[in-house]
């Protein structure tokens, strides 16, 4: 792709995952920043806490991601001033979609996963493509390792079809600890085969008590 003289993007790699639970949400991303076959840094966070119950993880081109995060954080502050409360996760989800589609003809090279608690306190995950198409799901993976991780999450977490009656929640019945363990396992697997994923795993867990952060070492090769 870089043979084109006008290619303005670059893929800095990395993987992001989010899992929604009944009253929690886990958002995780590795911390490796690469370009081509080189590593730029092993210690770069892809996760941005936009509101107290809303966390965004993005992988792709870091230049676009940095500015997308800054933009959303500024819009959230404006929302706070105007509405006297922090932005809810579903509201941020729509805002992110609009922000991405706004640049439909020169997109943000960012693959996003938004996780948090909705207004009822239930976990929610929203998954996006680069131009803002989004969907609320129970779990998602985006980035260079997503094709390695998604099948495993499907196997472990896939909810019954929404067409079945009685209607059942898309959020996983797993406990918080089980979900975090699952995240650690899938990242360990992705790190094995995806060269762009590794170094450290940053896990953010949001529940009604607040936000917790955890770091796990991953393979550095």
């Amino acid at each position: 792709m870089s043979r084109r003289g006008d290619w303005v993007y670059e893929n800095n790699g990395g993987t992001c995952v989010a899992i929604a639970g009944a009253d929690y949400c886990v958002v995780a991303a590795d911390t490796r920043l690469s370009v081509g076959y080189s590593i730029l840094t092993r210690d770069h966070s892809k996760i941005c806490e936009l509101a107290d119950k809303c966390v965004l993880a993005s992988s792709g081109f870091q230049g676009d991601i940095k500015v997308l995060h800054k933009n959303l954080a500024a819009r959230e502050l404006l929302y706070q001033h105007q509405h006297n409360k922090r932005m809810s996760c579903p509201a941020m989800a729509q805002l992110l979609s609009n922000t991405l589609y706004y640049k439909r003809f020169f997109p943000y090279y960012a693959f996003n996963v938004l996780g948090g608690l909705d207004s009822e306190g239930k976990g929610c995950v929203f998954t996006y493509d680069a131009v803002g198409s989004y969907e609320r799901t129970g779990y998602s993976a985006q980035g260079t390792g997503s094709s390695l991780i998604m099948p495993v999450l499907d196997n472990q977490l896939k909810s019954p079809s929404p067409l079945l009656l009685p209607a059942r929640d898309a959020v996983t019945p797993l406990s918080e600890l089980e979900a975090v363990d699952l995240v650690k396992d899938v990242f360990a697997s992705a790190t094995e085969r995806d060269i762009y994923t590794g170094d450290k795993l940053e896990i953010v867990v949001i529940n009604k008590a607040g936000t917790k952060r955890e770091y796990i070492e991953l393979r550095k090769d």
Binding site: K70, N71, A74, L77, L78, H81
Partner: protein, 270 residues
């Protein structure tokens, strides 16, 4: 001030070199209900006397958070003040976006003053009819500025604006020299006492005043700009009244004795 032939346009000078429309705008500030601001080296406090249009309505919002590190209290045409607060908020957000740092309070006051000045030099505009007390915290400590409709602004240790503010100013003039070293609690108490002076006999309760504080604690942690909730305000008022009932000037800090010596009053009037 009498009505005269030079006061129709803001862009018309009087022979004495005055812009009457600007001065009339400053009169509007004097009609608004009182606001008081004071600061120490590390904290700044804003207090406002709430005025409701009638017993049935809610009272006007006079204190606005502009950023984590700054807020304003206004007196005058509150609609103008609301619009200016929105402007200040957007300036703070844009500055933080570009420079990844909070907008220093002096620059904030400057942006506001420049915006006010524009309205004194366009024939199709009118001056903003609101005076703002801008309080904030930045690297160089806590600051308090007064921005008036003329586009002028000054930094103050303590100041009061709005109707019956002279009573508050007199109170503050006696004590302001010690403010640098005041604790946040002392600042809050003096702010409430100053507002009480403007109420002229009416009882001070948490429903007729608003209080906000911003500052940096001794250990370095920042207390972002925040309104103090009504329950806490009432607690403070109650404890102040209880302290007053105990005999002897136990509450007065020793700095009052120094005030009586000097006659160098702060330039409180513009």
């Amino acid at each position: 001030m009498f009505r005269n032939q030079y006061d129709t346009d803001v862009t018309t000078w009087s022979p004495a070199g005055r812009l009457f429309q600007v001065e009339y705008a400053m009169e509007a500030v004097k009609q608004g209900s009182a606001c008081v601001g004071l600061r120490s080296r590390t904290h700044a406090v804003l207090a406002a006397a709430n005025k409701a249009a009638s017993e049935l309505s809610s009272h006007q919002r006079k204190v606005f958070r502009v950023a984590d590190h700054a807020g304003v209290a206004l007196a005058g045409l509150t609609a103008d003040g609301r619009v200016l607060s929105r402007f200040l908020r957007s300036e703070c957000i844009n500055h933080a976006f570009v420079y990844d740092a909070p907008l220093p309070v002096s620059r904030l006051a400057l942006r506001l003053a420049d915006k006010a000045q524009v309205c004194t030099q366009r024939s199709w505009k009118r001056p903003y009819g609101v005076g703002l007390l801008v309080a904030g915290l930045d690297e160089s400590g806590a600051h308090l500025y007064y921005n008036c409709p003329s586009g002028n602004y000054f930094e103050y240790q303590a100041f009061a604006i709005g109707s019956r503010s002279q009573a508050a100013k007199t109170f503050l003039e006696r004590k302001f020299k010690g403010y640098d070293d005041y604790t946040p609690d002392q600042l809050i108490r003096d702010a409430l006492s100053a507002i009480k002076e403007t109420l002229q006999g009416e009882k001070l309760t948490s429903s007729n005043c608003t209080l906000a504080i911003v500052g940096r604690k001794d250990d370095g942690t920042v207390e972002p700009f925040e309104m103090i909730d009504a329950k806490r305000v009432q607690e403070i008022i109650d404890s102040m009244e209880a302290a007053e009932e105990t005999p002897v000037a136990a509450a007065e800090p020793s700095s009052t004795q120094e005030e009586d010596k000097g006659t160098d009053a702060a330039p409180m009037d513009i």
